[in-house]
C-alpha cells in the first residue's frame, strides 16, 4: 500500500513537484535570510566586541557614563593588579586594557615645519607582550596595507586613508599632540611603521594605533587604562556567562558611591547593542513566522485545490472501502514526505547561497563613507548549524498544516456528499 501511494505521489506532479517547489522556495528564502541576517548582525556585534565593547568591559563608573568622550581623566588606576585579579576570578576570560584617545597628528617637513596636519582617533593596545592577542583580535596583521607591525617602541600604525590624506609614508615621523589624563598638553614623536585598512568606515577614516605602554607614557597614564575589555574563551559571545561574570564582579561595588570604583558592563549594555540583539532575535523569529504563515496559506490553497482536484480519487477510494481516517492519514503522510523533501532541498539551496555570500560578501563601502558605527564594509552571510535545521520548521509545518486544513474538508463532508461532488 505504501509503494502504491508513493507511486501515485511521484507520478502526480500536482501532488509532489509543485508543492515541493513551493516548499523548496520558501525554505530556501528562510534559510538564506536567516544566514544573511545572522551574518550581518553577527558581524556588527562581533566587530563592536573586538573594537569597542569587548564581551565585557571594566571602566570606572564615571567613565562608563561618559564613555563616548574618551574621558581618560576618569580612567582606571592599578590596572595591572586589577587584570590579575580578574584573571584569577574569571579564569579563561582574557582581559585586555585599552586606552581610547583623540589627538592631532602633525607631519613635519625636512625643516621641522608642519607639512600637514590631521585629527585622529587613537586606540592603544598591547602590541609587544608575548603573543599579543590584541593583534589577532583586531586583525591588525590582516589589515596591514603598507609597512610592518610595530616592532619597537614609539611606532605607530595609522589608517591608510589618513596616511594618504597626510601624505605619509611608512618610516616617516609624526608628532602626536594630545592631552594627558590630567588635562595637560602631551606631545610625542612616533614613527609610522605601517598603514592599515580594517574595512570599518569609522576606523578607516582616521585611526591611529599605538602600543599601550607608549600611550601610557605619552599621555602620562602610568598603570592606567580607560577600559579593560574582557573576551570569553573562543571569542564567542555567551549572554548567560557574561551576565554571570558581570553580576559577580559588580555585586561587591553595588553600594559604593565612588565614581572611580570599577564597573563592569556587558556587550549589550553598551552603545545600544541590546536593542540590536533583541532586534535580531525578534526579526529572525518574525522571519520564520512570516514564512510559515505565507507558505501555510500558499500550501493550504495548493492543498485545497489539490483536494478539489482529487475529489474523484478520494471519492473512489472511499467507495472502494478506504476509511476517511486512512485517506486523511495518507494525505498527511504525503505532506510530510513532500515537506521533508522540500525542506532538505530548500535547506541545501539556501545554505549554498548563504555560503556563497559568506565567501564573496556584499561590499557596501560606497554607502558607508560617513558612517560612525563600527560595522564591516563587506556584509557577509554566516552559515550556522541552526540554519541547517531551521528550514524544516516552516517546511514541514506549513505543508502539514496545509494538508491538515485541506483534509478537514474530507471529514466535514458526508461520504455521500463527497460522492455527489465526485460525480459532478
Amino acid at each position: 500500500m505504501i509503494r502504491f501511494l508513493i507511486k501515485g505521489l511521484l507520478r502526480d506532479r500536482h501532488r509532489s513537484l509543485f508543492p515541493l517547489l513551493t516548499v523548496t522556495a520558501g525554505v530556501t528564502l528562510t534559510v538564506f535570510f536567516h544566514c544573511w541576517l545572522g551574518g550581518v548582525f553577527g558581524d556588527i556585534i562581533d566587530y563592536n566586541a573586538r573594537f569597542t565593547t569587548g564581551h565585557l568591559k571594566v571602566t570606572t563608573k564615571a567613565y562608563a557614563r561618559e564613555a563616548d568622550l574618551f574621558p581618560n581623566d576618569l580612567a582606571l588606576f592599578g590596572v595591572d593588579s586589577l587584570c590579575r585579579r580578574l584573571q584569577d576570578q574569571f579564569p579563561g576570560t582574557q582581559w585586555s586594557p585599552r586606552i581610547r584617545f583623540a589627538g592631532l597628528l602633525d607631519v613635519p617637513d625636512e625643516n621641522g615645519e608642519t607639512r600637514s596636519q590631521g585629527t585622529a582617533v587613537g586606540l592603544a593596545v598591547d602590541m609587544h607582550s608575548a603573543g599579543a592577542p590584541e593583534i589577532g583580535r583586531l586583525r591588525i596583521d590582516q589589515s596591514l596595507v603598507r609597512g610592518t607591525l610595530p616592532e619597537s617602541r614609539w611606532e605607530m600604525l595609522i589608517s591608510d586613508t589618513l596616511a594618504v590624506r597626510l601624505g605619509l609614508e611608512p618610516g616617516e615621523t609624526v608628532t602626536l599632540v594630545g592631552t594627558t589624563m590630567n588635562g595637560d598638553m602631551a606631545m610625542r614623536n612616533f614613527t609610522v611603521c605601517g598603514t592599515v585598512r580594517f574595512g570599518i568606515a569609522a576606523m578607516d577614516r582616521g585611526a591611529m594605533i599605538i602600543d599601550l605602554e607608549d600611550c601610557r607614557e605619552a599621555l602620562d597614564m602610568p598603570d592606567a587604562a580607560g577600559e579593560i575589555l574582557g573576551f570569553l574563551p573562543g571569542e564567542s559571545y555567551d549572554p548567560i556567562e557574561v551576565s554571570r561574570i558581570a553580576s559577580t564582579f559588580n555585586d561587591p561595588f553595588a553600594g559604593v558611591q565612588d565614581d572611580f570604583a570599577p564597573f563592569m558592563q556587558r556587550l549589550e549594555d553598551q552603545g545600544g547593542l541590546s536593542e540590536m540583539i533583541a532586534y535580531i532575535d525578534h526579526f529572525s523569529g518574525l522571519l520564520v513566522f512570516v514564512f510559515v504563515l505565507a507558505m501555510s496559506i500558499v500550501l493550504w490553497n495548493a492543498g485545497l485545490i489539490g483536494g478539489l482536484r482529487r475529489y474523484g480519487e478520494i471519492g473512489v477510494r472511499l467507495a472502494i472501502g478506504e476509511s476517511k481516517g486512512h485517506v486523511f492519514r495518507a494525505m498527511l503522510a504525503e505532506s510530510v514526505c513532500v515537506g521533508a523533501a522540500g525542506s532538505v532541498t530548500g535547506t541545501a539551496v539556501g545554505l549554498a547561497l548563504a555560503y556563497w555570500l559568506q565567501v564573496k560578501g556584499l561590499n557596501i563601502g560606497s554607502f558607508m563613507k560617513e558612517a560612525s558605527m563600527v560595522m564591516p564594509l563587506v556584509l557577509r552571510a554566516r552559515v550556522t548549524p541552526t540554519a541547517g535545521v531551521l528550514g524544516f520548521l516552516p517546511g514541514l509545518f506549513s505543508t502539514v498544516l496545509g494538508s491538515l486544513l485541506a483534509g478537514i474538508g474530507i471529514y466535514r463532508r458526508k461520504t455521500a456528499q463527497l460522492f455527489k461532488e465526485l460525480e459532478a
Partner: protein, 242 residues
C-alpha cells in the same frame, strides 16, 4: 454474515431527507424492498426519483433518515464510518457513470487497489487482477493509463476493479450513460456473464433503455416511492445489429 441465507439488502420503511434551506427535501418515502443474492436487478426511474440516493444507502455511503436498511446483515444506520468503509471494502463493488479510475495509476494498479486495501498477498493479488482483466478483455492493456483508453475500456477497467474482490453486491450507477450503444451492450454482457459465473448480485440505477433490457428485475422508482417491482422471466437481450 452469510448472504446466501437471506436477502443481500433488506429495506424497510426507508425514508431519506436532505436539508434544503430551512426545511428539507424528501428523496425516499418509505421504501420496502429486498434484494436477493444473485439478482441482476435495477432501480429504474426518471432523474430526481431517488435512484442514486437509494444506491448510496445500500452502498453504505449514506444513512437512512427513518426506517432501516440492512445490507449483508448489517444495519447501515448503525455503522460507524470505519465499519461502513469495512463493509464496502469487503463486500460491495461500485461502478460509476464517469468511470472514476485513478488517473495516475495503470490499468493493473487500478484493479489491484481494492485488494491492497484488503491486504491480500502479492501473488494472490496478481492472480486475481489478471483473471479479472482477462474477463473484461483488457489483458493487453495492463500497463496503460486511463487517459490512453477509450470510454468503453475505462468502464471495463471499472468493472474489473469492482469485481476483483468478488463482492457480494455490485452497485452500478448509470454505468452506460457515457458510452455508445456497442460499448454499453459489451459491458452489460460482461456483467451478465459475471453474474452468472460468480453469482454476484448486480444492482443498477438507470433510466437507460439499453440497461433496462438486460435486467431480470425492474424496480420502478417515482418521486421517492417504489411504484412497480416486476421480475422479467427472459430479458430482451440485444440482437445482432440492433
Amino acid at each position: 454474515m452469510n448472504a446466501s441465507n437471506g436477502p443481500i439488502a433488506r429495506l424497510s420503511g426507508l425514508v431519506k431527507r436532505f436539508p434544503m434551506g430551512r426545511g428539507h427535501f424528501t428523496a425516499l418515502r418509505g421504501i420496502d424492498l429486498q434484494i436477493m443474492p444473485g439478482e441482476f436487478t435495477g432501480v429504474v426511474g426518471p432523474s430526481g426519483s431517488g435512484k442514486t440516493t437509494l444506491l448510496n444507502i445500500i452502498g453504505s455511503l449514506d444513512t437512512p433518515s427513518e426506517g432501516s436498511a440492512v445490507v449483508l446483515g448489517r444495519s447501515i444506520g448503525e455503522l460507524s464510518h470505519k465499519q461502513a468503509a469495512d463493509l464496502r471494502n469487503h463486500h460491495i463493488g461500485f461502478i460509476f457513470q464517469t468511470f472514476n479510475l485513478l488517473p495516475v495509476y495503470s490499468v493493473y494498479e487500478n484493479v489491484e487497489f481494492p485488494l491492497l486495501l484488503l491486504r491480500k498477498p502479492a501473488e494472490e493479488r496478481r492472480k486475481a487482477v489478471l483473471e479479472m482483466l482477462e474477463w473484461v478483455g483488457l489483458s493487453d492493456k495492463i500497463r496503460s493509463r486511463p487517459s490512453q483508453l477509450s470510454g468503453g475500456e475505462c468502464q471495463r477497467v471499472a468493472i474489473a476493479r469492482a469485481m476483483v474482490k468478488k463482492p457480494g453486491i455490485v452497485l452500478a450507477d448509470e454505468p452506460t450513460a457515457n458510452l455508445d450503444a456497442d460499448n454499453s451492450h459489451h459491458i452489460l454482457k460482461t456483467m451478465v456473464r459475471m453474474n452468472e459465473n460468480f453469482g454476484t448480485t448486480f444492482c443498477f440505477a438507470t433510466h437507460d433503455e439499453k440497461v433496462i433490457r438486460y435486467l431480470r428485475r425492474k424496480i420502478l422508482l417515482e418521486d421517492g416511492r417504489v411504484t412497480k417491482d416486476e421480475t422479467v422471466k427472459k430479458p430482451r437481450l440485444r440482437r445482432a445489429g440492433t
